[in-house]
Symmetry: C2
Subunit: 302 residues, 2 copies
């Protein structure tokens, strides 16, 4: 059996199932970041993402600066999706000996720029040789225990929100996105978020991850999905790499949230649907009112 014959999700489950975790690990793989015991009031968050030339960016379309920005940005977005604050990163960079030094300089300027913006300390790294550039970043964050948000907390009756707009990230946003850490922290200051994920593989697939982790269903209103410029609903549902936040809140919290906070956040936040009982399935409601099953597809490597 080849790697391509098995889905990415099944592959990751297969490979990680035997790893032993001790009692200090609150949550291992299966969320945007791992959750580890830390201080009396806080958890440590821990994540990694690999950004590869030819897979996640191509020179010609992307500058080295953008590649560096994206490599760390993806990780910051994961910490944000747990409700946390990013703190410490290490970076492994593999690059060809024949590559220009200015390319490595540009990557590091991109890393530094987004690190400074979000207060991340890049504390170490490793360099190696590779034909294609590989930038692997791992990131430690922290979150107050009571602000931690998992994928698994969605409840029937919750409303579903998404930040920003979705679709056609490939036109440029995937290289320039602003991880929604500050938006999540602003909301969590006053409100309880029941579940959250960042949209890396498309709304359809990432919402499905919340539904599976929470054992619930959902109705999504097609006309309510915020579309990026030139994006169709299908782009918004299936393109991936938007790095927006998808989260759910009780209807009561949501009403208060609408009344008090929404206009104080620069980033738009759209209500796109509601959480239902699991037996009601995962549905999309068209502009004509027609209810259909959501297609569970999106961006996956394998």
């Amino acid at each position: 059996m080849k790697i391509k014959d098995i889905s990415e999700i099944d592959l990751i489950r297969r490979l990680s199932k035997n790893f032993h975790l001790d009692k200090t690990v609150i949550k291992g793989s299966g969320d945007d970041a791992a959750v580890i015991k830390y201080t009396r009031d806080k958890y440590l968050l821990y994540t990694c993402d690999m950004t590869i030339e030819g897979v996640h960016f191509d020179f010609g379309k992307a500058t080295p600066f953008q590649a560096g920005w994206k490599a760390l940005g993806r990780n910051i977005s994961d910490i944000g999706a747990m409700g946390g604050v990013p703190k410490y990163a290490v970076v492994s960079l593999a690059i060809s000996p024949g590559q220009k030094v200015s390319v490595a300089d540009g990557i590091c300027k991109g890393l530094k720029s987004i690190a400074d913006r979000f207060g991340v300390n890049i504390v170490g790294g490793d360099m190696s040789v590779s034909k294609n550039i590989v930038i692997d970043v791992s990131l430690i964050g922290e979150v107050e225990k009571k602000k931690l948000v998992l994928r698994s907390g969605a409840k029937t009756g919750d409303v579903i929100f998404v930040t920003g707009s979705l679709g056609r990230s490939i036109k440029g946003k995937h290289l320039n996105f602003i991880p929604r850490v500050n938006e999540a922290r602003r909301i969590l200051k006053n409100f309880k978020i029941n579940s959250m994920i960042d949209i890396s593989d498309g709304l359809a697939l990432d919402l499905n991850r919340i539904l599976k982790a929470s054992c619930v269903g959902a109705h999504v209103y097609e006309s309510a999905i915020p579309l990026s410029k030139d994006a169709s609903v299908n782009n918004a549902l299936y393109d991936g790499e938007d790095y927006e936040l998808l989260f759910t809140m009780s209807a009561k919290e949501a009403r208060q949230f609408y009344r008090t906070i929404l206009k104080k956040i620069d980033t738009p936040v759209s209500l796109i649907g509601e959480i239902t009982a699991k037996k009601d399935g995962y549905k999309i409601i068209g502009e004509d009112g027609k209810i259909e099953d959501m297609k569970i597809k999106g961006y996956l490597h394998f």
Copy 2:
């Protein structure tokens, strides 16, 4: 200017020099792991190492199990060289879609095997696509404040020790080595180690890193260097990938260490030289008593 036109050490210095570190970072890049504020009694240690097919291992000579073992083992060795205990790892794995699933299985069995042996929790990861296999591991460890050992603490008059034997690791040891965490912890329980590093790029180069960080010189006795089977002194000095510990201790501590502990540690520990004043240089003393400058060379990627 190309990457190959600049030394790996200069390149890393150039790329990392502008990264901003806040006051919670005790030590950024430039040691085996970064040191970060943690609890009242302990520091957090943080490191990463990239292990690439065709650079750090080749199938045919290495099994997938060994590649996985090595990928995490290199990181565990770094935490050990700070006097710490490895705790939490995340693993990024890039693999070709055409590769057999059994190869990924084997890599994860190797990761799990060494993780279990050293009590490491593999708490998360990322998968991506690459022609050559890339295994990037980052590892969090912890160390009691008073047991932390940096490269920069060597003092004139210290004696220099090395664990195990050196040279020709390429014959197999680089795939099967046991990181010397337990040896370091055993010694630190009763003794003060002034400086330490793990030998990844060869004794000559890694001892030089201690000397530069500590602003001291050294005399190494050629005949005292413990040689692996079929290894020459040159192999021991310049081959790299031994993953043994190189450390220094005051002569007084060393005498006590010899008397009480040495025979209780299964791994051999050899006295190979002494730390001198910086002005005395970095010298190797041949079997004939001839003193020569140590050649500063070893395994570097660029």
